[in-house]
Symmetry: D2
Subunit: 389 residues, 4 copies
């Protein structure tokens, strides 16, 4: 464990923002990080008010990330932040991330990592150059049973993988909410803020990441059909993709934000020669294993199941079985591992292997490439588009 | 109700056959039909033994459907069969069906209706010519809550339909069982007996039928990728299809017989502007409605729910809510409606509208066309193949 | 298999009756029984009309069970019925059953077997005297996974049994329906027709039977609190009972017909030293096994699971896994086994062991004793009432 | 919102303790509280090490709660703790709580509140005298949908309540773990540390609280049968209780810690004239409403469902629907409301009504009385024991 709390600054995440508040809940939980400064909003009034709500001192409440990073970099080492968390809309990820790295700060960043693949590659180069650390908050990778699923695939128990089905259904964009004052809908459906894909960028990337992450297999070709279902919308709000993975595995990816009545239904199924696994984000503490020749098994999350689950899973549980953990705990797991790994680095200790288990720049590159490839495939009359990075 | 039991002959369905036994269970249930003769097997010994097990008189146990149909046609009207049920493998559907129609007998036939689309069209013409009736046993259409789902879509409660997802996952062909003496596997994976598609013909057609049947929308274009996952298999055992339907609706169809650990998981989801519905064959007595603006509702099958369900659904329930009905009852519903409609016709009565609710030649044509189109699309490098009949 | 269909007569079960129709569906399914006569109603018009709907000849449609049994007994052996099924209200079970036995006919009877325990004992004596067979239709014993649960307990896999929880919740008597023309509610809440217990007789007996049947343990003492929740009702419509079983096992039985919104929720849980099992009638094709030291397992019904399930279970499945079977199939299993055992007896063959697996007079005696004991305990201020027969 | 973080000290909860760590996760989440001192263990080494892990200064790491409370009381107001959290075993709740109140500190305390009912009454008197605040961490009351359930009952939508079924099944004490070095098992089954009841004190009190809390009805009489299933155990590990509530409502309470394979299965069902509700702790984001005359509804937790759920529920959600929240968030809700109410009091502001929604001394008194009454009833041969406080 770390000898002191790490110090963090936040960029974006003012008082009415959605994802910034989620990040703070996740950061707080384990008590290993102190929020010490913020450029929470470009609006001075909002910035100040947000800072007060978070008990920040006025002199560490900024309205410009540039100012914040410069001033923090100038502080003495025992005050200076260890890392910065960037929770602005997609188009405003790259510049602060790059500046933070240049100032010597480690970085946490919401997904998708940048606005373009090119930017992501520049970040990659800068990370290599500086040796700093980056956490990309692909939240769903933080669930203990997602980790368990990955270990099961790796173990070969299911036999050679054959099929991967992933789907992510939401209904919250079933109407033209971006014209009705919904701030989230507004920027997420705006190509100038969100990027070249809507639904596929926002949630399709989560689904693609989950599929690759758990299976350990990379997508090699795709056959995409994106749709803009709601009239007047500027980006895709729905789509389906046929997939080819390495090792002759095939699959499908379905994503929709107009599946009216659905909440946040991310679901992964992988089948191998001997059986299959299924995990659903909305009931995340259960992992179902179905077998060709024996009864299905239900794995359950829980800190005490050290004989039933891998260390990878149990080290990311905080409570015994039957005490449900959820989205915020999954999110907190990303931070926990990042912070433990970063603390070890700062203090010159060897990290435990499980601390290194968090998404980073490689996942960011894959995410941006997925967006590029899925948009390209959608625009093509060819059935299959080779996945390129 | 009919004044007498209808008389039936059966072609195929000898003592070790799978689907013939299922048909008989379904036929028996309501006590409206009497099995009076059979050409249950081409093997004389099997035919005789099977006949005895079914309490058939020896002189109405045949080894040739031609003989059976000729002899039955020669019997006096009060003995003669009213209809014939054909439960042979796919390649042996057409000839007995055509012969039966020529002899003046109504026909029940397992799906897919014939070996080729051309044969299906010939049957269509013969039916039109003779005015006889045909039941195609698309079992899943017999479930009360499938009927309810169709009524809900028709009612417009969900708003304009936008998305259709249908999937049918089985795992029983995960190994090369056709080489291990599994008779079902053997003929179903043999193109000379099953037809030009394997998985897509066997279960993909069920999925396609369910999607069109419930939504009331026809597929207009498809983008298919079929796979033969198990080495040495002669036909596809897996596939996924992107779909376009009428009215700018899009969707996906997933079918696999190598999803190891899955039993018979047919599942349909349809989303409209206001909400979505979900039905799963393995828990058929529940229909979930999710709504954009209110809590999800769970409809349940049951004969007493005359205020909650449509007549279309309740008239196909035999028990009160909470007394689960299943696959055999769904199957029996097809026969029940067919037999009531046929009885009415024979007796010169007007049928009740719900009796006419059973799949027939049009569904047979669509099924064969689906096979043709999905195979053509799979062979094409073009993304979209226009669906033609 | 039997060489001929067995011949059956039915007492009660006219055209508007509930349970008679259920019996016929169950009887028909396997095609092993022919309904040849009936005293379906004491009302001549109803009797005749009901007979016609069932295609009975007029001369075997009776209005008096006495007349029917006498006339049938006088028929030549090759015409005479093999058994009679009694589906009248409780108070009218005993007399026709006794008369049938006296006439040499085997008997099928709805539960509870008689109106009083004393009557049940008289039937027991008559059965012993005549050597005839009796089937008591405790339907829930017919489910394949109930049989599997019993085998699992017997095998000792769960270790010594410790706890038994059984509950049966319905909501259909939440209002005073007996005063609103509901015929079922009317006789079932009338002590002169139903007996000394209402809810406990109607469904509590099912729950008690299931607990004893699956666990193999007998109730030895009980502590009951019955309630009449709906004002104006003449019998209990709700109750709960603390139970002691043999071998120091304890448990609870909950039954209610005023659990508004519940359908037919019969649910059994048994825990042993190593794990527990759970089965719910409304999802009868799943049996959950939970273990102290390993992941929970989900057993599924299915004719093909000969390696996963006992013969006791698979021999009572008609379809492969994933093709749901339900209440009517469970009911049909009772008849199937009874008819196979009876046929073997008639034909002088040795029955297969699994054919003898159906509830009979012993279960009938236990059921009537349960009613007596639960009513006595409810009336007592003593905590525990010793269960006596 | 509060103008500053509240300052907290912790008594108990050293580095290997279970519930102390849970409290800290819950406290941290919302970032409104700072842990500033602790008497985390009576073992000096453990106390110091635990303090370091929590980044406490050495001079605020104590080995005696008396010393801690005296020294903290002597600090200037801007440093002094606002409240103390007591997470010691049951027998060590009362003395530090009383001392804290005497020092003028507000108190958070694990349940059961004290070792005896008499102690609880003394705390009640002291609270009245001092006007200080107390939070009793009946965690399950913190779930949003438990609050919703309570609001639904209060609204009368279900009609007059008739039945309450509550059960709490665990399996973790299926073996004699207290003899195998399990620290939790050891003190919880030791009457000198846990109190006069084992299972009923540990989890039966949770079940009783949930039933009374949601229904708004108090238990008036009970009929209990407790068991010690595992040989050698010193307290009950299992039991069942028939209940009478106010307004002629009846119910049952089942609790077991030897239900092998169960995790933490707390489940509540309440039925009224028009329908019933069901909530299960292991899937806490779903509340099922079943209705006599319409389809069942599924309510879901989520911060955005301001039109579907009461403020009482939504104000205790942190994420949108479909992002599961769990046990730690429920726990955090208790603290959140307590801390907001306490902050308002300190700052002289009027609290919002929903901030006052947390369990306190009255629930503590009921819990201790439940233990006394259930033990008395178990010891009695009388069927019913009147519930006295």
């Amino acid at each position: 464990m770390n000898k002191r709390k790490l110090r963090m600054g936040m960029i974006g995440g003012g008082k009415d923002a959605f994802i910034g508040a989620i990040h703070r809940l996740a950061i707080n939980m384990d008590g290993q990080v102190e929020l010490v400064c913020g450029a929470l909003s470009v609006n001075p009034e909002t910035a100040l008010e947000s800072g007060k709500l978070l008990f920040l001192p006025d002199d560490r409440t900024y309205t410009s990330y540039v100012e914040m990073l410069d001033k923090e970099a100038a502080r003495p080492p025992h005050e200076r932040i260890d890392f910065v968390t960037i929770v602005t809309p997609n188009f405003a990820h790259f510049a602060p991330a790059m500046k933070a790295l240049e100032c010597g700060f480690n970085v946490v960043i919401e997904k998708p990592i940048t606005f373009t693949l090119e930017e992501a590659k520049q970040l990659q180069a800068k990370l290599a150059e500086t040796g700093l650390m980056l956490l990309l908050t692909h939240t769903y990778a933080g669930y203990p049973l997602v980790k368990e699923a990955r270990e099961i695939i790796k173990s070969g128990k299911l036999g050679k993988v054959r099929k991967i089905y992933v789907e992510y259904l939401q209904g919250w964009l079933s109407r033209l909410s971006e014209r009705e004052g919904n701030a989230q809908a507004s920027w997420r459906t705006d190509p100038s803020k969100s990027g070249k894909a809507g639904c596929m960028g926002d949630i399709g990337t989560h689904a693609a990441h989950l599929a690759e992450h758990v299976s350990g297999l990379k997508i090699t070709a795709l056959n995409a059909a994106l749709t803009t279902v709601v009239n007047g919308r500027m980006l895709d709000d729905d789509g389906a993709v046929l997939l080819k993975f390495e090792q002759e595995v095939t699959g499908t990816l379905i994503a929709s934000q107009v599946a009216a009545g659905e909440e946040n239904s991310l679901r992964l199924r992988i089948y191998g020669e001997n059986g299959g696994l299924e995990w659903s984000q909305m009931e995340p503490n259960t992992l179902t294993l179905r077998w060709l020749d024996k009864p299905a098994e239900t794995l359950r999350a829980g800190s005490g199941y050290t004989d039933r689950l891998s260390t990878s899973a149990t080290s990311n549980c905080r409570t015994p079985g039957g005490h449900p953990e959820g989205y915020l705990e999954a999110f907190a797991n990303l931070y926990k591992n990042f912070v433990l790994a970063l603390g070890a680095k700062i203090e010159g200790r060897e990290p435990q292997p499980e601390w290194l288990d968090f998404p980073s720049i490689d996942e960011g590159i894959r995410g941006m490439a997925f967006i590029d490839n899925v948009v390209a495939s959608n625009a093509s009359d060819e059935k299959w588009t080779t996945y390129t990075v």
